[in-house]
């Protein structure tokens, strides 16, 4: 049962990611990315992170994808990739590099099984939203305040970028 609960979202996430990679139309890509985000949010629920499940859906699936769709439609840039890359070796290099990275990551984890113990206890709710909030507002208070500054800076930056210069 656990394997099934993990397997279905995992397969959906990989399918969404590959479809995003292969889709020629940027709007379709954004929607496949939405599928991927939703599948990953289900995995967060399996990993006992209900707070991040909600955050993932609201921020990624909600805000970020909508922003992407807005910009794609605003620019009318759905099909902006009809010509091949300027550098003809880029595609082959990308595949070789990606394959090497995947093999390397797999070897890293296979050769060091001790670093990742197998058993996962699914019973206790160590990461209830209240616990996350406690950690956020006590141990990590300073990063939390800095994050609010980051958001404020982004807000001001976007406003400045889109000012009309007369």
């Amino acid at each position: 049962m656990d394997v099934l609960l993990f397997g279905i979202p995992a397969v959906v996430a990989i399918i969404g990611a590959i479809a995003m990679l292969l889709s020629r139309n940027a709007v379709h890509s954004a929607l496949y990315l939405l599928l991927n985000f939703a599948a990953i949010s289900v995995l967060y629920l399996l990993l006992q992170a209900p707070f991040l499940f909600a955050t993932q859906l609201i921020v990624y699936a909600g805000a970020i994808i909508v922003l992407f769709l807005f910009v794609v439609m605003l620019l009318g840039a759905e099909r902006d990739e009809d010509t091949p890359h300027a550098n003809p070796w880029q595609n082959r290099g990308a595949f070789v590099g990606g394959l090497l990275l995947l093999v390397e990551l797999c070897l890293l984890y296979i050769n060091n099984p001790d670093t990742i113990p197998v058993a996962v206890d699914m019973d206790n709710a160590f990461a209830a939203p209240a616990e996350v909030a406690k950690a956020l507002f006590t141990t990590h208070l300073l990063p939390f305040e800095i994050a609010s500054f980051v958001l404020l800076t982004a807000l001001i930056g976007v406003v400045v970028l889109h000012q009309r210069r007369s």
Binding site: D2, V3, F6, A10, I14, M20, L21, A26, S29, L33, F37, I40, L43, Y44, L47, A49, F51, L52, T55, V59, Y60, L67, F68, V71, L75, A77, D80, T83, H85, N87, Q90, N91, A94, F95, L101, L102, L105, C106, Y109, P113, P117, V118, A119, V120, N124, A127, E131, V132, K134, A135, T139, H140, V150, L151, T153, A154, G157, V158, L161, H162
Partner: protein, 100 residues
């Protein structure tokens, strides 16, 4: 019982797909989406480790990653719109003004 290894392996696969997207696609929008995919893969690994060690610290870190990703997308897409206004394209191969 699904081991943490499975989650980390899924995270690695998604990360590699993201890297392929960054290198294969030409539209700056698609490169952006692939970067988001890679951030998500890293988040998934962090949440898996948080569950492994029963510690919320990694989840707090994922929260910060999501915050920074939101800010990054807002600024990045604003920049992209400005570039598009000037160059009428989102093709990253044509954004080579700084090339020597």
């Amino acid at each position: 019982m699904v081991s943490t290894l499975m989650y980390v392996a899924l995270s690695a696969v998604l990360f590699v797909i993201g890297i392929l997207g960054v290198t294969l696609r030409k539209s700056a929008l698609m490169v952006f989406m692939s970067v988001e995919l890679m951030l998500n893969a890293a988040n998934l690994a962090l949440v898996a480790f948080a569950n492994q060690w029963k510690s919320v610290d990694a989840q707090v870190m994922v929260f910060f990653v999501i915050t920074v990703a939101a800010a990054e997308v807002a600024v990045g897409l604003a920049l992209l719109v400005m570039i598009f206004k000037r160059k009428k394209t989102t093709d990253i191969d044509l954004m080579n003004t700084l090339r020597g």
